[in-house]
């Protein structure tokens, strides 16, 4: 395991150095913004990595919820609720109220179908994981639950670090280009809300000592993750000050810029995965220590009980 870790760490270090060279030296200077546009090469990959980590947290939290009997029973209701919301979307798609956003290329019919599919997917995932876990037994044991929980908390923490990078580098880019550090634009505000949701998730994990903390925090994570697609699609749904996408349908990018961007995307994704991996190992070590402390306390209690019962035995003799 250590050799594999060292191997990936070496590749990641190489990619980060090459990415740095590409971002600051090799990529051409943008015509309108100048050199400050180079922030793009680590601002966007950081946001991407944060999203991936939050989605990891989301899936681990969702699977953690399958260990709760009540949630398993609610899976059908989640699917029905999603289908109702989706059908409502289909009904209003013909006569859209003015307060609902309408962007070019956006279809309420498509969005409603996506909502239905997401709800059904969630219900199937929860049910399927439970049924599979029931069949395979050991694979979905308490140990699997501990690992899922460790990955969930680790990905949230590392995701918050990457999201912090996004929230710090964004204003450094905005000040010379927009003339302001911050604006309450939909993309910026939802990103700040996302950061706050995961900070509250970590605070909940840190300061709560109930036995149900894994289930409670998983519920918060699943609901909080709803903000991730909202942040991502906000620039399509709303008129924002934040730039529109420069790749795909939204625009085009110089091939040398695209190369620098993709290298940095890969480098930051690998770096995020490496840090998350280390954090999972740390979390498991922490739990191992807690178990060792608990065992020692039990041994101490047993020894004390044995010592206390000794004079009683003698006196009875």
């Amino acid at each position: 395991m250590n050799k594999l870790f060292s191997f990936f760490a070496t590749i990641t270090a190489f990619l980060l150095v090459y990415g740095l060279y590409q971002a600051l030296v090799a990529a051409p200077t943008e015509r309108t913004m100048g050199d400050v546009q180079r922030i793009f090469y680590y601002h966007v990959p950081s946001a991407w990595t944060a999203f991936c980590l939050f989605l990891t947290n989301y899936f681990c939290s969702l699977l953690t919820l399958t260990y709760s009997e009540a949630i398993r029973r609610a899976a059908n209701r989640i699917a029905i609720l999603g289908a109702i919301f989706g059908l409502m979307g289909l009904l209003i798609s013909e006569d859209r109220p003015p307060w609902l956003p309408q962007a070019e290329g956006f279809s309420w019919v498509k969005a409603s179908i996506i909502v239905i599919l997401i709800a059904v997917f969630h219900a199937l995932l929860i049910k399927g994981y439970f049924l599979l876990g029931d069949r395979l037994g050991k694979l979905f044991s308490d140990r699997a639950r501990v690992i899922l929980d460790a990955v969930a908390v680790s990905s949230a923490e590392v995701g918050v670090v990457f999201c912090t990078v996004v929230l710090v580098t964004g204003p450094i880019w905005a000040r010379p280009v927009w003339g302001i550090w911050w604006t309450w634009d939909v993309r910026l505000t939802t990103t700040l809300v996302l950061w706050l949701i995961y900070v509250s998730y970590l605070v909940l994990r840190r300061f709560s000592n109930t036995g149900e903390i894994a289930i409670l925090s998983a519920t918060l994570a699943v609901i909080g993750a709803l903000d991730v697609p909202f942040v991502y699609f906000s620039i399509w749904f709303f008129r924002t000050q934040h730039p529109q996408p420069v790749m795909g349908k939204g625009g085009s990018l110089d091939p040398r810029m695209l190369h620098a961007f993709l290298i940095n995307l890969l480098a930051f994704s690998c770096f995020g995965a490496m840090v998350c991996w280390s954090r999972v190992r740390l979390e498991l070590l922490h739990r191992q220590l807690e178990e060792a402390h608990a065992m020692k306390s039990l041994e101490g209690a047993d020894a004390a009980r044995a010592q206390a019962s000794l004079p009683l035995n003698r006196s009875s003799e």
Binding site: L20, A23, L24, G34, D35, V36, Q37, R38, I39, Y42, H43, S46, V158, V161, T164, V165, V168, T169, I172, W173, R175, P176, G179, F271, V275, S278, R279, L282, L285, H286, Q288, L289, A292, H293, K296
Partner: protein, 48 residues
């Protein structure tokens, strides 16, 4: 040189520095936590 001009010319270095400052601080916290846990585990094992 005001802030706007400074960031227009050197903003990408400032942002890059800020990015790695945040990551290095976090990695430092992880390393410290790891060392403390290792030490606690060793002490717990040594007491037996």
């Amino acid at each position: 040189m005001n802030v706007q001009n400074f960031l227009l010319h050197y903003g990408h270095y400032v942002a890059y520095g800020a990015t790695w400052l945040i990551h290095i601080l976090y990695l430092g916290i992880l390393v410290r936590r790891f060392a403390r846990l290792r030490q606690e585990l060793t002490e717990l094992g040594g007491d037996k």
